[in-house]
């Protein structure tokens, strides 16, 4: 007869009659990863790459920083509102902790 130990992943399995499920409450507006390329004279990225498409940034219309939760898992984001070559406006940010880029409506 196999006995289960507490470090066994099978631990916590409910009795046959019981039902336990775990689900994630889904957030809206979750940031999506992008890549950036080049560097403009002002130091900001020159283009964003979404999938296989690279689009040039023609202007940076706004920028701001969000620093939060330094006591837990620090959040440090440098947001940029950029205008792309086709005229669309995007909000992207640089995660300065993970050194990654994301797009996210603000």
């Amino acid at each position: 007869m196999a006995l289960r130990r507490i470090d066994d992943p099978a631990w916590g399995t409910p009795a046959a009659d019981d039902v336990t499920t775990t689900r994630q409450l889904r957030s809206l507006n979750v940031p999506r990863g992008i890549q950036v390329a080049g560097r403009r004279p002002d130091g900001h990225p020159a283009a964003i790459i979404e999938g296989r498409t690279a689009r040039r940034i023609t202007a940076v219309t706004d920028e701001w920083w969000v620093e939060d939760e330094w006591w837990r898992a620090p959040i440090s984001r440098h947001y940029l509102e950029v205008q792309l070559v086709d005229g669309t406006i995007r909000t992207i940010y640089h995660d300065t902790v993970a050194d990654t880029w994301h797009k996210q409506a603000y």
Partner: protein, 420 residues
């Protein structure tokens, strides 16, 4: 590996030790259970002077102390400030009732694999009926080893086996961690004789009275005539005499397994740790929707709800709510909000767990008069039912505000299940 300190002699088998149909009761003990659970996963703290702090909102006193802390002079009931002044290196562990419940359930499950008759008596104490299980589990010492092997060694479990619950508990209490002690029927009276009479399961005032009467050990009580004991101490005293003499009554040899109760548990991981009511109740609502959305929960009502929250830093918060009347899906969220009006989480919640028990068929109720019935969006109801039929779950969600003021955009709104 556990080693039983049982008398052994050539050819001894279980039926020799516990002849005939004599009951064989095992007691598995984890002293300082909440403290031991707090240590799980923190092996580096084992051996340090540890104390258990109060539950959130409780008085800052020592709720329990490890043997290492007791050896340094710390006592239960002492204020935490006093304990820290006395032993500066003392480690204060926060109680985690939800984790304790999970660990206790897991232990119960493991012991139940060895015997169908397992009783969770109180936190850290389980009784197992081993009567007639010699062929399956071996002799009592071997069976005790197997019981101990079912529990993580870091909890420092110990076991006792005897013909009755009381003797088994005393045997377990006298065993060192990881070991077991078997008391055979012929040895029970002599084994119990030197034990203090305060060990008896009697009311505190009766224990005091026995001390005042000079009955300091079970042997002194057993030497008295049973009639005299009953005349002075009543029927409870008579039972105490019975136990002190190594005999057992029906209550001492009965292990009451927990009745099978269907429990539906839904755990909801929150998008981000939060102390806010909105986020907490969003998780509760999601759990309610998911639980009642199960096909077998259709038209069911619930009598009892257990809600717990996993708090950052390994703490937890929990509340057991017995509802005034069986409540179904439509009113559950509102009822829980009312009952938890004074909700004050001790820290940011990461996960909300909702357990529904006492599940019954919806009781008949006076219907609302035609014409005043709440109008439901009929096409939407049918559309959702069709989608559930096709995909198993409803893929229709509604957008709920969580922390609309948050500077982190993904914390502002969440999708929650929608049941029209």
């Amino acid at each position: 590996m556990a080693r039983a300190t049982a008398p052994t002699f050539p050819g001894m088998i279980a039926s020799d030790a516990f002849p005939g149909r004599r009951p064989v009761i095992a007691c598995v003990l984890v002293p300082h259970f909440p403290l031991r659970v707090a240590l799980l996963g923190q092996a580096e703290l084992d051996g340090l002077p540890l104390v258990l702090g109060p539950l959130p909102g409780g008085r800052p006193v020592v709720a329990d102390a490890s043997p290492e802390a007791v050896a340094r002079g710390i006592r239960t009931g002492m204020t935490l400030r006093e304990a820290m002044a006395m032993v500066p290196e003392v480690v204060v562990a926060d109680p985690n009732p939800a984790r304790e419940r999970d660990v206790a359930e897991a232990i119960l499950g493991s012991l139940s694999e060895l015997s169908p008759l397992v009783e969770a008596d109180r936190p850290g104490r389980w009784y197992v009926d081993l009567t007639g299980s010699a062929r399956l589990l071996g002799s009592p010492p071997r069976a005790a080893e197997r019981l101990l092997a079912a529990i993580p060694a870091s909890l420092r479990p110990r076991a006792g086996v005897a013909p009755g619950r009381f003797a088994a508990w005393v045997a377990a209490r006298k065993s060192p961690p990881g070991r077991s002690r078997v008391v055979f029927p012929d040895d029970v009276a002599s084994f119990l004789a030197p034990e203090p009479s305060t060990a008896l399961p009697v009311p505190a005032d009766m224990a005091d009275l026995m001390i005042r009467l000079g009955l300091k050990t079970l042997g002194q009580l057993a030497d008295l005539a049973p009639g005299a004991v009953t005349a002075r101490l009543g029927t409870a005293g008579g039972r105490a005499w019975l136990l002190a003499t190594g005999r057992s009554d029906a209550a001492d040899t009965t292990v009451r397994p927990r009745p099978e109760i269907l429990t539906i548990t839904e755990r909801v991981d929150l998008p981000a740790p939060s102390t806010g009511r909105e986020m907490f109740f969003l998780g509760v609502d999601e759990g309610i929707t998911r639980a009642f959305g199960r096909p077998d929960m259709r038209d069911r009502h619930v009598r009892q709800v257990s809600i717990s929250a996993a708090i950052e830093d390994g703490r937890s918060w929990d509340r057991l709510l017995t509802l005034r009347e069986p409540t179904g899906y439509e009113r559950m969220g509102e009822v829980l909000r009312q009952r938890l009006g004074d909700l004050a989480l001790p820290g940011p919640a990461e996960q909300v767990t909702l357990s529904l028990t006492g599940i019954i068929t919806a009781p008949a109720r006076q219907e609302i008069l035609p014409g005043v019935r709440r109008r439901r969006p009929r096409p939407l109801v049918e559309a959702v039912q069709q989608l559930k039929q096709r995909y198993g779950t409803s893929p229709v969600y509604r957008i709920a505000e969580v922390e609309p003021w948050s500077r982190i955009p993904e914390r502002r709104h969440a999708l929650v299940s929608y049941e029209p």
